[in-house]
C-alpha cells in the first residue's frame, strides 16, 4: 500500500514538472516584454529574460514564478515608477539590472519590493540609482543574496535605504553590497533574521541599522566609511559577531551605537579608526568579548544607565581614550582585558598584571564636560593630570577598574564566517527554517 502511495506521489510530482512551462523574453521572441510573459505564465513556470533594455514601468509579479535574467537584462524605470513588485509566495528573481527609480516624497519607491510574500529568493541583482533599493514589507522566510545596491546619495534627504526590511521574520541577507544610500541595511520590527557577509560603504547614515527588532544576528559584515557604522536601537537579544567597523569619523559618528539594547552579545569584532568605537546608552546585560579596539578616538563610551555589562578578553590598542564611563550603573565588569597603556608588572609570571588598571583617564572625564579641552590632549599638563588621578582617584568612577589586566594581547585569531568556531546565536537554532 505504502509503495503505491509513493509511486503515485512521484508520478504526480513528475507531472507537475512536465506541466511547468518556460518562457523566453527577448525583442524577437513571441513574448517581447516581461509583463507579457508574466501575464501568459502559470504558477510554477520559469521565465528567462534575455539581455536587453526593458522599459516597462512597474512590473508586478503576482504568481509563483521563477524569473531569471540571461546576460544581465536591464529593467529601466526611467525615473518614473517603482520597478519590480513581488506580491506572491515562492518567487525566485535572479540576475537583473534594475535602474532609475523615481524619487517621491509621498511613497517610498523601490527598485525591488517584496510585499506581503513568503519564501522569496532575490539573487545576484544590481540596483542602480534607486530611492529605496530592495524593500521587504510584511514578508517572511526569504533570502536576499549577492545583490549590489548602488546609489549616489549626494543629497542625504532624497535617498532611501539600500536594503530595507519592515515587519519581517526569518530573512537571510547574505553577501550583498550596499553603497551610497541612507542606511545600507535597515531593519525595523524584524525578528529571527540573519545579516551576514555584507559590505556597506559610503552610506549617509548607517551601514546597518536595527530598530525594534529582536533575536537577530549579524556577523562577518564590513562597515566602511559610512556616516556611522552600525546603530542597534530598542532591540533585544541581538548577536554581533566578527564584523569590521572601520574609519567612521565625525562628530556624530560611531563604529557602533547601542541604544536601549538588552541581552546582546558583541564578540570577535574589530573596531578600528573610529571617532568612537562603541557608544552605549541604557544598554544592559551585554557581553563584550574578544573584540579588537585599535586606534580609535574613544574605544568605548558607556553612558546613562548601563548595567550588568561584562567586558572581558578584549584588546585595547593605541586608542586616544580606552574607556569613558558616565553611568550610575555599579555592576559593570571590566576584568581580564589587554590595555596597551597598562604600566603595571607581573612578578609571579601568570600573565595577569599584579596591579589593577584604571582604564578611564581623568582627562577623558574633563573632555566629556568641556569638549574644547581636547586640544590639550598630548600636553605635559594632561599627563600630569592623568598621573595624579591614577595615584589617587577622585573624579573617575571607582568601580571602573580591571582587576586582572592581561600582559599579552588576547589571541586575535581572525574570525571568519564559515569558521566552525564562529558563534551561532543561541536562539537561531530554535527557529524553523
Amino acid at each position: 500500500m505504502f509503495r503505491w502511495i509513493l509511486i503515485s506521489t512521484l508520478m504526480l510530482a513528475g507531472q507537475a514538472v512536465l506541466l511547468a512551462n518556460t518562457f523566453r523574453v527577448c525583442k524577437t521572441c513571441p513574448a517581447s516584454s516581461v509583463r507579457e510573459a508574466i501575464r501568459q505564465a502559470r504558477p510554477c513556470d520559469t521565465i528567462f529574460v534575455e539581455t536587453g533594455i526593458y522599459k516597462e514601468g512597474n512590473i508586478l509579479i503576482d504568481k509563483e514564478l521563477t524569473l531569471i535574467g540571461n546576460g544581465r537584462p536591464v529593467l529601466d524605470g526611467e525615473g518614473k515608477t517603482e520597478i519590480v513588485t513581488i506580491a506572491a509566495n515562492h518567487v525566485h528573481f535572479e540576475g537583473f539590472v534594475i535602474k532609475n527609480v523615481g524619487t517621491s516624497y509621498s511613497e517610498d519607491r523601490a527598485g525591488i519590493r517584496v510585499k506581503e510574500a513568503s519564501d522569496f529568493y532575490v539573487k545576484n541583482c544590481r540596483v542602480e540609482n534607486a530611492f529605496f533599493g530592495i524593500y521587504l514589507q510584511k514578508s517572511k522566510n526569504g533570502i536576499i543574496e549577492g545583490n549590489e545596491v548602488v546609489g549616489e546619495a549626494k543629497d542625504e534627504v532624497s535617498s532611501g535605504n539600500a536594503i530595507h526590511l519592515w515587519y519581517c521574520n526569518n530573512v537571510l541577507i547574505i553577501n550583498n553590497k550596499t553603497i551610497g544610500h541612507r542606511d545600507g541595511i535597515y531593519l525595523e520590527f524584524v525578528n529571527f533574521s540573519t545579516v551576514q557577509g555584507n559590505f556597506s560603504e559610503r552610506n549617509v547614515r548607517y551601514g546597518l541599522h536595527f530598530m525594534f527588532s529582536n533575536d537577530d544576528i549579524y556577523r562577518g559584515n564590513t562597515f566602511y566609511n559610512n556616516g556611522a557604522g552600525v546603530a542597534v536601537m530598542y532591540s533585544k537579544r541581538i548577536g554581533m559577531f566578527a564584523n569590521e567597523f572601520k574609519n567612521n569619523w565625525g562628530p556624530a559618528a560611531y563604529g557602533l551605537l547601542l541604544k536601549e539594547i538588552h541581552d546582546g552579545q558583541i564578540e570577535g569584532n574589530t573596531f578600528q579608526e573610529n571617532t568612537v568605537g562603541i557608544f552605549a546608552e541604557t544598554s544592559n546585560r551585554i557581553v563584550y568579548s574578544k573584540n579588537q579596539f585599535i586606534q580609535n578616538g574613544w574605544a568605548l563610551k558607556i553612558s546613562g544607565g548601563c548595567q550588568m555589562n561584562n567586558l572581558t578578553n578584549n584588546n585595547f590598542i593605541g586608542n586616544s581614550f580606552d574607556l569613558a564611563v558616565h553611568s550610575a550603573g555599579t555592576d559593570n565588569k571590566f576584568d581580564g582585558n589587554f590595555w596597551s597603556d597598562y604600566a603595571g608588572y607581573d612578578l609571579d609570571h601568570n600573565g595577569i598584571g599584579d596591579v589593577p588598571h584604571r582604564p578611564m583617564k581623568l582627562f577623558s572625564y574633563v573632555v566629556s564636560k568641556t569638549p574644547e579641552s581636547l586640544v590639550l590632549l598630548r600636553s605635559l599638563f594632561v599627563d600630569i593630570l592623568n598621573f595624579s588621578e591614577k595615584v589617587s582617584p577622585i573624579f573617575t568612577p571607582e568601580n571602573v577598574v580591571d582587576n586582572q589586566p592581561l600582559l599579552k594581547t588576547v589571541d586575535s585569531q581572525r574570525w571568519t564566517v564559515d569558521n566552525d568556531t564562529a558563534p551561532v546565536h543561541p536562539l537561531s537554532s530554535t527557529v524553523n527554517r
Partner: protein
C-alpha cells in the same frame, strides 16, 4: 569719542548679547546633526523637529516622537519654541502647537511611532482615511505619550 557714541556702543553691545539669548530656530544639517533624544543622525526632512529653550538652547530631533518623549523628561526646561514640519511642505518649520498629528502604522516615521505633522487638518484626515490611524492636536498628542 563723544559721549552719545559711547552710549550707542554700549547699547549695541547689550543689544547683541540680548539677541544672542533670544530663542531662535536653527536649520538642521541633515546627515550631520544628531537627535538630542535618541542620538540618531537626522536625515528625514518631513519628520525633523526642534525645541528651543527660553535661554536659547537648541535641541534637534530626528522624529516628532523623540521630541515629545524628550519634553516629557525635560519638563523643567521651559521651551520657547517647539517646531515640526508639515508633512506636505517639509522644508519649513511650523509651530508644533498649531499642527495636527496623524499616528498611523502604515505611514512609518523614523522612530517607529508612525507619527507625522500636518498644518491642514483636512489633509491629515484624508491621509487617515487612506492609511488608517488617528488624528490628534498637540495636547492630544502629548496625552498619547503619557
Amino acid at each position: 569719542m563723544p559721549h552719545h557714541m559711547k552710549k550707542l556702543a554700549i547699547l549695541l553691545l547689550f543689544g547683541s548679547i540680548l539677541t544672542a539669548c533670544t530663542p531662535t530656530a536653527e536649520p538642521v544639517a541633515f546627515g550631520e546633526d544628531m537627535c538630542a533624544h535618541c542620538k540618531m543622525t537626522i536625515v528625514d526632512e518631513p519628520f525633523a523637529a526642534e525645541a528651543v529653550s527660553q535661554k536659547g538652547k537648541v535641541y534637534k530631533f530626528d522624529a516628532i516622537e523623540c521630541m515629545v518623549e524628550f519634553l516629557k523628561i525635560k519638563q523643567s526646561d521651559q521651551m520657547a519654541l517647539t517646531l515640526v514640519r508639515d508633512y506636505e511642505n517639509p522644508k519649513e518649520w511650523q509651530d508644533a502647537t498649531q499642527c495636527n498629528y496623524l499616528i498611523s502604522k502604515d505611514l512609518p516615521s523614523p522612530m517607529g511611532a508612525g507619527l507625522s505633522a500636518w498644518l491642514s487638518k483636512e489633509n491629515a484626515e484624508a491621509m487617515k482615511a487612506e492609511k488608517g490611524g488617528e488624528v490628534y492636536d498637540w495636547e492630544g498628542l502629548k496625552q498619547q505619550f503619557n
